[in-house]
Symmetry: C2
Subunit: 499 residues, 2 copies
């Protein structure tokens, strides 16, 4: 194992422990977990805002990619790859895009020793280069729906402080772009992708989310509707976990995506775009980890089970042989297992290291386990320990992995449920968020100004408005008034501080 | 199927046929195959040198990635992700790198509205940003070997004509970077990766390759040895199919990668780097395809079998039901099958389309096949047709897929074998390459000037020198003289025109 481990090690022994407190110093604690669990390094001088994603961090992204990409492929999405650069004039073809991203674009001005005639944007998002090709590929209603996705990195030159996976100038993501014959098709697509993002969080990362849409003034530039899944972090802030945009016909009009329908009439297509970034990893790390280090649900963990054999010189062969047999049996059953047979480290060190690195289940195997045909099983993060039969170990392991997932999800769900509070007045919104963080549900008239009043006071904003069908304030059969201005409320708004 | 197809279609019917001849207009024929099989589009004005990789093209890259990445992971490689940009000062830390790539670098000079203090290179290769981190991660001999790889795009601002997958300003590739305690470890690594590249060609793309090393004057900037696999294209030119570099200690010295050995002595590590790009797809398309369009080995083909049901109104249910049963059986056996049940297209159109798109095996199923419990099987590219039993169809299909692979490989091998010729004099080298193309093996003294004499005359160069153990001219027990200068020959050189 040591050979395969090496790209992730290299830290000195005394660096293993987490020294910051999740509860009291969340930001510093997060940075320490990211560094000490070997997930990422900050890039050095001259590259502030960028990170180096190390193998343990990238492995999480690869597993997430595998989960989501399989869902995409099952639902008609094909992957493609478009150029990294976008000529300035393309961005300008969609004025909302250019207004939305202009202050954040990195510009290439020279190729080799020559100045370029037109400068090129490093893609901040790819609507303006993908949409013209969708326009070429769509001729008839038979070409619809058309769906392409790419896994790539994008660059947004934000000046704020770097926070690995949450806020970096370059980040990894996927961006999907689709065209449909009509609103219904495009809206269904928007919802299908939002459902899949919800599933990434709830079924894969063990994080419950809220779903809804962004207020109109906070939509993706040019979108008709921006839908979102929001996850609550332990510091009481909300993370926008993934967004799926129904773009209406605005991009089709700007880039001339038309098709001839069954009656040979030319129509504009309805388009969507949707993206999920490695911010999901930030939410993952932040939600479950603790003062011992990283905690990972077994779904996403690159290694699900670490086997630590405990031997003396005279029991070594026996213990190691037994442990190897267990490892083989798990491996054959498709469980990601690592037998930690290093003899340069003692078991206590190994326990700490595997805890730091977030391996969900540890097996301890010593002479007693061998004698009794058993295995000692320890769960991360709660340390729950039990002794199980050697026979049927693969099946038993699966049950334990499921149990660990369920524990993590239940803890996150309990946290979320306790952190959604109601408020009916401006002062109540301010007071509740100020005191507790979390989400505050309040009746809202729909005006940006009312949100601004809150934002100006405590940097909280409306992160989400439930969909009409989930919102009993939608429509006219209620008599609530806006918590801020006392006009009629038309929607329920979720206020929160946000990443 | 039509729904999943749509992102690849959109071409008008009359565009299906290939109009150029592979034999007589190889370049134009290649461009036409790439376009009409829906693999890639050229990027438009302002973006010359870039391509749009469409779903059918990207799917080939995804399959190649899957094949090679599994080999990497089985041999201790971990994936990571490093920033897209590299500060100019980093490039300058390795003077060979900066000299090698300076004329080809795309430069970012502005972030948002601000000019950057230091301009950033869009990575042309990542040694100069990865090596400093390897330096941080390596402390002791226990941290070695250390291996990281990334799948990404790189940019090289070459002014030459665009040829999709062969020559583009941005291309997809993987780059691996490793550090080892000594020369032996690093050399073994270099060879392991070269073996894996050879396997990509020979076991996955059905292309036999030659292996060896580049002449010293044509090595990767800063390398001790550059090894290569070379594939012969049907137009008689050689393609550098993948390169694996033993870097010696030059990068370790420039970026200070040292480790303490067993005796606590500080030593410089030996490093390697190795890369394979989507040029492999260019070689794939060029080697096997024909005047009917794309030809793919079943290994890389996203769809291995297309089933075309042939029915009249009164036989439709029966034929379709039977075809669906066959499709299900193949799918359950893990064969990538597509039932083409579109009723807007006739069978002849479907045959042409599947041939254009390079589906290796076609099943034709009509009332006769149903009655006799059989399936008609047609191979791409040679049209070989046979009738097989419905029973055991999955197993039979596997045999046919293997047969198609073997045919493609044999044809490419025969071509290669006929295109390696010997020459003993300058005029013979020039005459042979001028008349036949292909490789010319000749005794060589090792001097760049002798290669230049050939290069100046016919733009052929030494693409490869066999490894010492494969080269009976290495050493002193022969009395050959250099074909160009008549000094003692020390090696055999393979001259060829090159992509």
């Amino acid at each position: 194992m040591s050979e395969h481990e090496s790209a992730d090690s290299g830290d000195d022994d005394q660096e293993l422990g987490i020294t910051k407190s999740k509860e009291y110093e969340t930001g510093e604690w997060y940075a320490e977990v990211v560094k000490k669990a070997g997930l990422a390094n900050y890039a050095p001088e001259g590259m502030s805002g960028f990170i180096i994603t190390r193998p343990r961090g990238y492995a999480l992204w690869e597993r997430l990619q595998g989960f989501l990409d399989a869902k995409f492929k099952d639902t008609g999405v094909q992957n493609a790859y478009f150029p990294l650069f976008i000529p300035e004039s393309y961005l300008e073809a969609e004025k909302d895009i250019v207004e939305g991203f202009d202050p954040e674009v990195a510009w290439v001005t020279h190729g080799g020793h020559d100045e370029l005639e037109e400068r090129l944007a490093v893609r901040p998002t790819s609507e303006s280069i993908i949409t013209p090709y969708i326009s070429q590929w769509v001729r008839s209603h038979r070409d619809l729906p058309l769906r392409v996705n790419q896994w790539c990195s994008v660059v947004r030159w934000e000046a704020t402080e770097t926070k690995p996976f949450f806020r970096t100038k370059e980040f990894l993501w996927q961006e999907g772009h689709t065209a449909h014959a009509d609103r219904d098709g495009a809206w269904d697509e928007t919802m299908t992708r939002l459902d899949q993002y919800e599933s990434v969080y709830e079924d894969f990362l063990a994080i419950p989310v809220l779903r809804g849409q962004k207020p109109d003034h906070d939509k993706f530039p040019g979108a008709d509707t921006t839908t979102t899944v929001e996850a609550l972090m332990p510091d009481g802030k909300s993370v926008q976990g993934g967004t799926s945009h129904y773009l209406g016909t605005s991009f089709a009009e700007a880039f001339d995506i038309t098709y001839s329908d069954e009656d040979e009439a030319e129509r504009h297509a309805h388009t969507t775009s949707w993206g999920l970034s490695w911010r999901a990893l930030g939410a993952l790390i932040m939600t479950h980890s603790d003062d011992q280090g990283l905690v990972l649900p077994p779904t996403v963990a690159p290694t699900q089970v670490a086997i630590v054999p405990i031997w003396q010189e005279d029991t070594k062969d026996e213990v190691l042989g037994y442990a190897e047999g267990v490892a083989e049996e798990l491996e054959e059953a498709g469980i990601r297992v690592e037998l930690d047979d290093r003899d340069t480290r003692n078991p206590g060190f190994k326990f700490n290291e595997h805890e730091l690195n977030g391996i969900p289940v540890r097996f301890e195997i010593g002479p007693y386990e061998v004698e009794d045909d058993e295995v000692t099983v320890v769960h991360r993060p709660d340390g729950e320990q039990s002794t199980v039969d050697r026979e049927g170990i693969a099946e038993t392991t699966r049950e334990h992995l499921d149990e660990v997932y369920a524990k993590l999800y239940a803890a996150a769900e309990e946290n979320l449920e306790g952190e959604v509070r109601e408020a009916d007045s401006r002062d109540e919104i301010l007071g509740t968020i100020g005191q507790h963080g979390g989400y505050v549900k309040a009746p809202w008239c729909g005006d940006e100004e009312c949100e601004d009043e809150i934002k100006d006071q405590i940097a909280a904003e409306i992160v989400m408005v439930p969909f009409e069908e989930d919102d009993d304030r939608h429509g006219t059969d209620h008599d609530d008034t806006c918590a801020v201005c006392d006009d009629d409320a038309t929607r329920t708004a979720y206020f929160a501080k946000s990443y």
